[in-house]
Symmetry: C2
Amino acid sequence: MGYRIGMDVGGTNIVAGIFDADGKLLRRSKTRTVKSSSNELLEQLASLCKELLTVEQISEELLISVGIGLPGFINKETGLVTAANLPFNDIPVAERLNVLIGVPVTVENDVKMIVYGESLKGAGKAYSHVLGITLGTGMSSAWVTNGSLHGGAGGLAGEIGHIAFADIPYVCGCGMTGCLETVVSASGVARQARDGLAAGWVGLLADRFPSELRDELTSKDVWQAYMDGDAFAGQVFQRTASWLSRVIIPSVALLSPDVIIVGGGVAAAGDVFFEPLRAYVSENLHPLYRERLLIVPTLLGEDSGIYGSAEYAARQRIA
Amino acid sequence: MGYRIGMDVGGTNIVAGIFDADGKLLRRSKTRTVKSSSNELLEQLASLCKELLTVEQISEELLISVGIGLPGFINKETGLVTAANLPFNDIPVAERLNVLIGVPVTVENDVKMIVYGESLKGAGKAYSHVLGITLGTGMSSAWVTNGSLHGGAGGLAGEIGHIAFADIPYVCGCGMTGCLETVVSASGVARQARDGLAAGWVGLLADRFPSELRDELTSKDVWQAYMDGDAFAGQVFQRTASWLSRVIIPSVALLSPDVIIVGGGVAAAGDVFFEPLRAYVSENLHPLYRERLLIVPTLLGEDSGIYGSAEYAARQRIA
């Protein structure tokens, strides 16, 4: 029962943490992601591990596992990783890092690791059946039941951002039109606001983002405008909640989760997003579900992913 | 490793079967359900068990378990069973039958047992992740992953018939308006056809069901009219498939099942129902899912439930 490291490798930053055998976080670091080449990124991950060990004065032999969460697809048969926002295109990340670090490495999708972390140590800690949804650049989900992370056929469970609806007009990166993720994600919130401004909304958001600045508008700006009193900005979050409820409602009926945890940029908006979301879900489900269902934000902030990946990798070793 | 009995207790008929230790069905029976009182129904179930043993010349000591599937809600904490179409209202069915038969009895929801049976011995036999949906009087689902039946918080997983949509105008038995089950179920198919006839459809169905006979129209009649060439009848199944796809699409993205098994009266319609269903689901999901996903009818006919309940009860004993 030694120490374990977890890393959440994003397109912008890497969060890394070292945990003791009881799962207590001893130290964390946050660094810009090196994206020049796969080799350099792998070297960066290895040296982040070594730094954590050095600073905590833990000898390498006491490290039992390293877990990595990253925004990509991991082929379970070949171990090859492909991630659009990282320099990984069919790279055997776990194998390569294992050589560099000398410790078994487990690589998983970042959203799965975030939800796994929240289910064990965060907002899902007290519950058996946890559905997690993240709304960041994209939108996806993970399902943890009795401590076990569900992968599904081909490891493909969780692509809820790519459900198409006829009344969503946007073309998605995946090639389909109408994917939920084109509106329900941080980028989707910004897109909705830009479209509204183009259609002639007036108010704070319009004053702050004249047409020449409009491409820079983010979901945070929409939230800030709402906080400062812009009515249109509030409507964007309400409409996003309504769209999201289209996938949450069937999920509840299908699986009866104890809790649905929503994370990512959109969830940071708080009540203006969660209150209409809870209302839409309640109104359209069998009364039996209404009293018990919880829909809450993540608890561990940027650290959900390192809690998840550290523990996930350690359990692979112990099992 | 002795013999086990499974029973599927419906509002009209009871199917019962006795299986050997390898799960082979030795004998089955089908009988009208006695609905006069809970005592008389319990006596009937006990004597059906004894008959199967007698006819197969198996001594009572070699029977290890009895599994019952029934259309109702089973409180896991108290063991009390409530079933609208059976004379059970807060009756401790397992406990009472155990006294009558002298063997451990397990009671579960009938749809869960049907899907469990199909997942082990029927259309899901070759797969790890099986979603089953039944479209009979009502509509519900069950999820079996790696041989384990999912219950969810409060044992409430599977009430997919009670997801409400704004464009479904009917009031449901549960009190909500717009529940999927009001249109996607055998009763829903009949309702859609009756409504169409009231709105002036012409053709075979209209000829066969003048207004004074319209209340007797069933989903089977709609199917027969389609087979005989009635275009409106075919449209009813296509529309039903389209409505059903609204819950199947998010389910696939969420869980990535290997196979979705659809049973009950509506599924008996065959291609006129399954072909548009597969098309709607494919069109609105990420391309990754399209190639691998199977949507198929049940394989075991009326016996899915007895395969499921016999095996489910036996595993509770062995575990």
